[in-house]
């Protein structure tokens, strides 16, 4: 079974705000696959550009909202792809990231990529449903 998970708050619906042709998340086979999470205001969808630290806090906050609305949580993450704009920020990412995955952190890969709208971070994750 494949089930589309709706955005818990209007700002997290990137299809509505930015025309991205994607569902916020899809549940299938006991897992939840999330679309690339970006630092947008969860209420309004406005882009929240900032430092990697501030952007990461917004992204992880959005991810928490999305997963919890789907009956999962940050503790149930199994795999994370962290895309950052520059590998020099790796330690900065970790400082924020570890605050959100204190208990048995998920498998993770970090790499550098070009992220839309000049954002500094995007998280691509799979969680246990």
């Amino acid at each position: 079974m494949r089930e589309v998970i709706a955005a818990p708050l209007a700002g997290l619906d990137l299809r509505q705000h930015y025309g991205h042709h994607q569902s916020p998340a899809v549940r299938a086979g006991g897992l939840i696959f999330c679309s690339g999470m970006l630092p947008v205001d969860p209420q309004t969808g406005e882009r929240r550009h900032g430092t990697l630290t501030t952007e990461a806090h917004v992204v992880l906050g959005n991810l928490k909202l999305l997963l919890e609305s789907a009956g999962s949580s940050l503790d149930r993450l199994v795999q994370v792809h962290a895309l950052i704009y520059d590998s020099i920020e790796y330690d900065v990412l970790n400082r924020v990231y570890r605050q959100y995955v204190a208990n048995g952190p998920p498998a993770r890969t970090v790499w550098t990529a070009q992220i839309e709208a000049g954002f500094k971070i995007q998280l691509d994750v799979v969680a246990a449903a």
Binding site: G19, Q22, A28, G36
Partner: protein, 132 residues
């Protein structure tokens, strides 16, 4: 009990590398409930030749091939749960997105799009996970 892992034999061949040798990958592998599809580039499925074009035309070719590939594997575009799209430039995101939308009319899969350095002048790579 061990979960099943199965390479799906498909009438689709990975394009040859620049050196002329085949690539060490399977186009699709079933593991558990899922079908994992390798990153696809724009190729002609019959000849295996690369079809270099615009971001839009490469996206169209890739998704046409993906549909055929998933159908041959007993899955379908409707069963895709997650797509990763790699673009040679994020300035092309809109060009990709417009074509992409036509292939997933309703309830589109979760998706991540990013810009990356792609090999051999390729403009788009699409990889996906589907329910088997």
């Amino acid at each position: 009990m061990r979960a099943k892992r199965e390479v799906i034999p498909l009438p689709v061949r990975a394009p040859d590398t620049a050196s002329g040798s085949g690539q060490p990958l399977s186009m699709a592998v079933r593991g558990g409930d899922f079908l994992f599809v390798s990153g696809l580039t724009a190729v002609d499925l019959k000849s295996g030749e690369r079809m270099q074009g615009t971001t839009a035309s490469e996206t169209r070719q890739i998704l046409t091939n993906l549909k055929q590939l998933l159908d041959a594997a007993g899955s379908s575009l409707d069963k895709v749960v997650k797509v990763n799209v790699l673009l040679h430039s994020m300035l092309e995101e809109r060009n990709m997105n417009e074509v992409y939308a036509r292939f997933f009319p309703d309830q589109p899969p979760a998706r991540t799009v990013c810009g990356a350095r792609l090999p051999d002048g390729v403009k788009v790579i699409v990889e996906c996970t589907a329910l088997a």
